[in-house]
């Protein structure tokens, strides 16, 4: 008797959660289908989706809420005009020119756009003049409640979002199946050249598909506003981030190419979310986590790692698994002896000048900025190792840096152990975590690896940090002391800078040694051709584990130093995964292949916004996101980084000028020939 009542109650709860999950799932589905649409039509894994959605929603907000336009005209402009035009611009100005580049390069570009577009929009319309507060949906009286079967409440907004999602899905299906445009889009995606030979204007079709997918993003952007609480009150781009992550998981179910799978996947994930929140017990720590913020990241990670369709796709011929662009020669490899000497003298002079200024004249603010530059250079060397040497993209370096920082903190706070020991222990822990992480993602390549590592970073960020044994306590302070070493006290800014420079030199030399030695050769070989590398006996998994570990350890060392420099773990300021995305953009823009590039990125990341933007140009600091973000586009053409590219060009010019000898073809590289000394 009681059991049957109980069972009836559980059944009722399950049904209720199902109907509660559907609207959430509709939001996921809408975004997931947009992902798939962009990916299908352009081959671009568009992480900038949230940015596009934001721009339409913010434009609608600006027009309707702030400027009192009627809803219909605001929607007309924001969704039907702004969104397609944005798509057209992106296609004409950017993606058309990178059609042939690898999926990884496209991912980097979309990361750059994700950072740059919202900031550009905000600067353009002075969006932050007051807080973006109180956005309303596009459906009149959207909060009106209806009851399904007389008992399950839904709002008009939710019904509308669901209906539009279904209508959009049907329209897309019809488009791809029956219309000429749809067929052409499919054909163009498969082979633009071939299609053009057949008389279809591939350019036009490509533009059309971008406008379509952008329209979709814009539509999703405005529809999600009332149904997503973080957007409903404060319309900010980061409000789209959690939805994008969940939608990614849904899109991954269909390997990014199946619209029906994306739709049903989105609905499924929505329902799974509410079912778990209804039924999971609260008294189990781990299960309780799944009720909350951990869920989307766990789902995303699990789907990428375990979903058979993705494994099959990777095993088969995977268009996503684009081979990283063949790295061209380092400029240093090609220069003449005279140039080398000249370069070294110039570098020496420069560093001497900076050193004299720093230690003689700079105030503590600038010393601290320079110390930050040095520390970020160290952290960015982990990206040099992973992306520059390993040829792949990980979005969790920020997590490894946090591990280094927290370990140093824990050692000092709990056991009063030297932070230096703590930092080294942090490096060891990060290396172990990196190795462990590398196992499930071993077979993933390209963008799947990037997304899996992003999911890991978000999991750490939203779940692990709050545990005292990981992130300590913001409540009681995350203070970290400065170290003492061999009787030297590093409390002063200058002493600590010296320590950081010493660590940078050591890490830099080690990175060069690794690059020029067996490990580096193995990585280059794997990057050049995994099949060929295995054919001479390279154990690819071993190299993968090594590259994860080494890069994680370097990031952790940098993270530990950063905590010491700031005398606390400013977690929210420095180690947020979204900041990590910007790190990657800065490093690949400036040069991910060389130690020098990593250092330049560190300096640019810290000094450029303060010195150039704020002090010299008196610009809003947000311009740095715009500038670096758009600069990421250059990654497609100059994967070696802008500085390396510029160096090579100027070097060629100099050599023409001075030696009257044609420069060695700079097309390709003999990294192995470059001595360690060639790159500071």
């Amino acid at each position: 008797m009681t059991t049957s009542v109980l069972a009836a109650g559980v059944l009722e709860e399950t049904i209720r959660a199902f109907f509660q999950g559907l609207p959430i799932g509709a939001g996921f589905a809408l975004v997931a289908m947009s992902f798939v649409l962009t990916y299908k039509t352009s081959g671009v894994f568009n992480l900038a989706f949230g940015a596009q959605a934001f721009i339409s929603a913010a434009a609608y907000f600006e027009l309707h809420t702030r400027r009192d336009w009627p809803i219909w005209s605001a929607v007309l402009v924001a969704v039907l005009l702004v969104a397609p035009v944005l798509g057209l611009l992106l296609e004409r100005l950017i993606f058309r020119h990178v059609h042939a580049v690898s999926a990884v390069a496209k991912l980097v570009i979309s990361l750059g756009l994700m950072v740059a577009l919202p900031e550009l929009f905000k600067l353009a319309v002075d969006y932050n003049r007051e807080q973006p507060f109180g956005a309303v949906g596009i459906i009149p009286d959207g909060t009106a409640v209806y009851r399904l079967f007389g008992r399950y409440p839904v709002t008009r907004d939710e019904i509308a979002a669901f209906a539009i999602m279904v209508a959009a899905a049907l329209a897309l299906a019809a488009l791809f199946r029956y219309s000429r445009l749809g067929l052409r889009i499919r054909a163009v995606v498969q082979s633009p050249r071939m299609t053009e030979l057949n008389g279809v204007n591939a350019d036009w079709v490509s533009s059309g598909s971008w406008m379509l997918s952008s329209l979709f993003a814009g539509l999703a952007g405005v529809l999600l506003v009332p149904t997503t609480s973080s957007l409903g009150t404060v319309l900010e781009p980061r409000g789209y981030f959690p939805i994008v992550i969940a939608a990614l998981a849904a899109a991954a179910l269909g390997r990014l190419v199946s619209l029906p799978a994306a739709m049903f996947g989105g609905l499924l994930l929505g329902v799974v979310t509410t079912e778990l929140r209804t039924h999971l017990p609260r008294d189990n720590v781990i299960l309780n986590e799944l009720r909350g913020s951990a869920l989307p990241y766990v789902m995303l990670f699990a789907i990428i790692v375990f979903w058979p369709a993705i494994r099959r796709q990777i095993a088969g011929s995977d268009p996503l698994l684009g081979v990283a662009p063949p790295p061209p020669a380092l400029a240093a490899a090609n220069r003449s002896r005279g140039m080398t000497v000249y370069t070294r003298i110039m570098a020496l002079a420069f560093f001497t000048a900076v050193g004299i200024w720093t230690f003689g004249y700079a105030n503590n603010f600038w010393i601290s900025r320079i110390t930050h530059s040095v520390i970020f250079s160290i952290i960015f060397l982990s990206i040099v190792v992973f992306t520059g040497l390993g040829g792949q993209i990980a979005l969790c370096q920020v997590t490894f840096a946090a591990i280094g920082a927290f370990t140093a903190m824990q050692f000092a706070q709990r056991w009063d152990v030297s932070v230096i020991v703590g930092m080294l222990a942090g490096a060891a822990i990060a290396a172990a975590v990196g190795a462990a992480l590398s196992v499930p993602v071993m077979r993933l390549g390209g963008i799947w690896l990037a997304i899996a590592t992003l999911a890991f970073a978000l999991f750490f960020h939203d779940v692990l940090v709050k545990y005292g044994w990981v992130g300590g306590s913001l409540f009681h302070g995350r203070g970290v002391p400065r170290p003492q070493l061999f009787g030297v006290d590093f409390s002063s800014h200058k002493n600590f800078l010296v320590l950081c420079v010493a660590v940078l030199v050591v890490v830099g030399v080690l990175v060069i040694l690794v690059r020029e030695s067996s490990t580096g050769m193995a990585l280059r070989a794997l990057r050049g051709s995994e099949t060929a590398a295995e054919s001479i006996g390279v154990v690819s998994w071993r190299s993968r584990v090594i590259v994860f570990s080494v890069s994680a350890a370097i990031a952790a060392i940098g993270g530990g130093l950063l905590a010491m420099e700031e005398k606390q773990v400013s977690y929210e300021a420095n180690y947020d995964p979204q900041i990590g995305l910007f790190w990657l953009v800065v490093v690949v823009v400036l040069g991910a292949r060389t130690v020098e590039g990593g250092i330049q990125a560190g300096v640019a990341f810290v000094i450029f916004p303060v010195l150039v933007l704020e002090r010299w140009l008196h610009l809003d600091g947000a311009w740095r996101f715009v500038l670096f973000g758009f600069a990421a586009i250059s990654f497609a053409r100059h994967p070696e980084g802008l500085l390396e590219h510029g160096k090579r060009r100027s070097q060629a010019a100099m050599q023409r000028l001075f030696t009257r000898r044609p420069p060695v073809a700079a097309a390709a590289g003999a990294g192995g020939a470059a001595g360690p000394g060639d790159e500071p």
């Binding site: 959660a17 509660q20 609207p23 932050n128 007051e130 807080q131 973006p132 507060f133 909060t143 409640v145 839904v154 149904t227 997503t228 609480s229 973080s230 409903g232 009150t233 404060v234 900010e236 980061r238 409000g239 959690p242 939805i243 509410t274 929140r277 209804t278 609260r282 986590e289 009720r291 909350g292 913020s293 869920l295 105030n363 603010f365 600038w366 000092a412 009063d416 020991v421 080294l424 779940v463 940090v465 709050k466 913001l474 409540f475 009681h476 203070g479 002391p481 400065r482 170290p483 070493l485 061999f486 590093f490 409390s491 005398k567 606390q568 400013s570 929210e572 300021a573 809003d620 947000a622």
Partner: protein, 500 residues
């Protein structure tokens, strides 16, 4: 093989050597509180008031803040007269004494400059924290209109943008530029606290962070609260609205929010009998900031459990999400929500239907309260035409403490003497707008230690009626409801005012 072992041994030996030579720089941090020097400078406040130093509730949810907007209660009318506003407390006889000062940052013969560091851009919370600057400037206008202080004008010379969490760098830049006497800080997190404190910069700020404790040179608009302490105010509130079944929310990914929720739960459980058989029916600290997945299952559960009051340690956006879901599930009418961070007029006006009848708590006397405070009157006069936010008042209060500290320090002041002077204020309530703080004693974080806490624990709250706020606590002229901190037994609070 042997060679390999040998090398490994060498490496470990080297590591051990390094480890042995490592240490941490001594606990040099002179930041902490030096021995409370009880210099009886010029305590502005009367001191004889029967009501000693209470405190108020208010736990900060994670990203805590909130802010109002709409123009609040009508202030004093004066307005047309530029200068002699309701004059500031006790015209000190040396207020207009000019003494040449050199070597004090930001102080010239004509001006006293200060810097503010405020979360302006990238504010994830969406509230207008920048209004903090308005409050400071309004107060400085107020002082300058009556001749300034020590023959000098007060100037908010440098407004730095925290750009979300970058306040440590901003603090360091401010310290190094050395062109300001004091710092005013209103940020979502306060990483720059030690930088300012260690440099000896008198710092006044929006005191919602624990960094406002344990630092000699740093003062909040109130002293640090005891988040998570057990107290009867929550069960008492429930008893006032006839509620007995509590639902409690905290963000899983925010430590403060979680601690706050646990403290509320423990408080309800401690006083359940006294509060008419009250129970905690629903407790959830797993929800995520942003609530992108909604809270439908949680609200259903609360409905099933018959919850009739919700204590949520959330920001105002989170409260809105819960309220929307309550409406959707047709349960809004049967439950009262307790808002720690929703004192935001624009927000509440825009969501009038969602929050009708809810209770909102503030850390200062709300604009709607009826008190005889000259400082509040001056506030309304000098913020005429400015959109008022919670932070406008916080800036105003901070500036007031700064000014009174200067006055107490005397015309030949510097940073250290300014701080020393403020630390002598034993019963300081911003002319009754906050509960009285003993700045000499209330330095440490008050974790269930009555010695560190306020003498009274006070509540000041408003109720939402038709999208506006109405004073809910106390009685006319006495907006605060206070419990003696030392008494653990269940007792009714006393209505008080701290206006001198």
């Amino acid at each position: 093989m042997a060679a390999r072992l040998w090398k490994l041994t060498l490496v470990f030996a080297a590591l051990a050597l390094v480890a042995g030579a490592c240490g941490n720089a001594g606990d040099d941090d002179e930041g902490g509180a030096p021995a409370p020097t009880a210099v009886p400078a010029a305590p502005d406040e009367p001191e004889d008031e029967p009501a000693p130093a209470p405190d108020e509730p208010e736990e900060e949810a994670a990203p805590a803040p909130d802010e109002p907007t709409a123009t609040p209660g009508e202030p004093g009318e004066p307005e047309d007269e530029p200068a002699p506003a309701p004059d500031e407390p006790e015209e000190s006889e040396h207020r207009h004494t000019f003494v040449p000062i050199s070597g004090v940052p930001g102080v010239s013969d004509s001006e006293i400059k200060v810097t503010s560091i405020v979360t302006i851009s990238n504010n994830a919370l969406g509230t207008n924290i920048a209004a903090y600057n308005d409050g400071i400037e309004a107060y400085f206008d107020f002082i300058n209109d009556t001749g300034g202080i020590y023959g000098r004008q007060l100037v908010l010379a440098n407004k730095r943008d925290d750009q979300l969490f970058q306040n440590q760098a901003q603090a360091l830049a401010m310290v190094e530029e050395d062109d300001s006497l004091a710092a005013f800080v209103a940020t979502l997190l306060f990483f720059g606290a030690d930088t300012l404190n260690d440099a000896g910069v008198p710092t006044f700020g929006w005191g919602i962070h624990n960094e406002f404790a344990d630092r000699w040179n740093i003062f909040g608009h109130v002293a640090p609260n005891c988040i998570g302490c057990i107290h009867q105010l929550w069960p008492w509130i429930a008893s006032q609205v006839g509620a007995t079944k509590a639902g409690i929310f905290g963000y899983g990914n925010s430590e403060n929010s979680k601690i706050c929720a646990e403290g509320t739960r423990d408080s309800v459980e401690r006083y359940r009998a006294e509060a008419g058989g009250m129970t905690v029916e629903f407790f959830d600290t797993s929800i995520e900031y942003g609530l992108s997945g909604g809270v439908a299952p949680q609200v259903s559960e609360m409905k099933d459990d018959g919850v009739d009051i919700i204590f949520a340690c959330l920001d105002l956006n989170g409260m809105r999400t819960i309220a929307q879901e309550l409406v959707k599930q047709d349960y809004r009418d049967q439950v009262v929500m307790y808002h720690p961070n929703t004192y935001n007029h624009e927000f509440v006006a825009a969501n009038a239907d969602l929050f009708e009848g809810d209770l909102v708590f503030t850390q200062f006397v709300p604009f709607e309260a009826d008190v005889e405070s000259d400082l509040q009157e001056a506030f309304f006069e000098y913020t005429e035409g400015v959109k008022l936010e919670e932070q406008t008042m916080v800036g105003w209060l901070n500036a007031h403490l700064f000014y009174e500290g200067l006055l107490a320090a005397g015309p030949d002041f510097d940073r250290a003497s300014l701080v020393e002077a403020v630390r002598t204020f034993e019963d300081y309530s911003h002319d009754g707008l906050t509960i009285p703080v003993d700045w000499n004693r209330q330095i440490p974080l008050p974790n269930n230690d009555p010695g560190a806490d306020y003498e009274y624990r006070c509540l000041n709250g408003v109720q939402i009626v038709d999208g506006a706020f109405e004073q809910w606590t106390g009685e006319p002229g006495k907006p605060w409801l206070c419990w003696e901190t030392a008494r653990q037994d269940w007792h009714d609070p006393e209505a008080l005012t701290f206006v001198s």
